[in-house]
Point group: C2
Chain length 239, copies 2
Amino acid sequence: MIVTDHILKAFDADLQDLRRRISEMGGIAEKMLVDGITALVRKDTALAQSVIAADGRLDILQREVEEHAILMIARRQPLAVDLRETISVIRVSGDVERIGDLAKNIAKRAHAISGQFQPQKVVAGLEHMSDLAMGQLKDVLDAYAERDDAKALDVWRRDGQIDALYTSLFRELLTYMMEDPRNISFCTHLLFVAKNVERIGDHTTNVAETIHYLVTGETLTLERPKNDGSSYAVVEENV
Amino acid sequence: MIVTDHILKAFDADLQDLRRRISEMGGIAEKMLVDGITALVRKDTALAQSVIAADGRLDILQREVEEHAILMIARRQPLAVDLRETISVIRVSGDVERIGDLAKNIAKRAHAISGQFQPQKVVAGLEHMSDLAMGQLKDVLDAYAERDDAKALDVWRRDGQIDALYTSLFRELLTYMMEDPRNISFCTHLLFVAKNVERIGDHTTNVAETIHYLVTGETLTLERPKNDGSSYAVVEENV
């Protein structure tokens, strides 16, 4: 019994350590997203460079968390909620790491468009979209830390807003490009930035699904509330 | 000893089963990529629809493979190469599933541009790029089936070609857009298609890295041969 107790405590301590590292990863990813968008809007290439540099730490943390979690499964044979905890660690760290990749790509594009004019209206649309994604990211990381299924489901439901905003921004950017060929180069980069933010939203939704599985033991089988029609979007030229 | 033998055989049988399912997943992803590009080039919306429909099967297979592999780790506590085998199954199935997602997105865009003119030159560039990605995918799936580290490393090295092609296609598409605003809508979709193919290349590189880890027990620490400069690309207008 004492041995069992010891094993349980060792498992819990390991899990605590992994969750601390995921919390560190979440903090890095949040900062990368905010700084990436700020670098883009303010054409701040030094800030963009710091976002690009931060991604390395995130990759290392993710690899460590994954390896450690798999060793825990192999060594301690967790069952039920302990197994779900360990699997969730692997999944959440994977999503947070990819959010970092996407933020890094946004920062790279800050370099490309730093010399170019950016119409205030599309930039505002992009900022609005990234504020929503940032809110999703913060809330889903809180929901994970607090094992709060209701909060996770709320994030999951809200992702449709980001998708809808992306589709309207997609059309707007295309219209801008048609109005003046000088807009094409930076609008193209902004299209990819918007797509990256939309994908960050998708990853927060993945995390929400993982939390639901962790807390309830069940997989969310509902269709996601998708409003991204941009892949189907056709914009006619303005003439 | 008989019991140990029995456990080993049960583990091997489970692993065989998982590898069969990954092989099935690989076949589906290959077909989705070929059909997705064909649907786009021939403006075949029925074929595009079949690609979109095929993705569901891939998602289910991936989820099953992942769950099964984690249960194997928990129940049988595999060590050394057996543990690497099981981890590799999880990673490879994740990459193949995402290749399917990207092919599905290509197929969706076939709908959007089906009514629009496509200049032969950019379509040829896109086909060339997807032929390379298709070659990478076939080779890396073979390398996985045959545990062939040399073949995997060859795929890993070749990915730079796809990235270089993507960067040149990116510039070409932007130039087209600047020449005539009527090109903007479909060129934008082709930009995203090209990006998707480039990302498919990245996932084949991930699989190659997994194979290297599986066969040698070591993680590839070299920098990837990246030639994707498109995030930094600035194209001046043609006037």
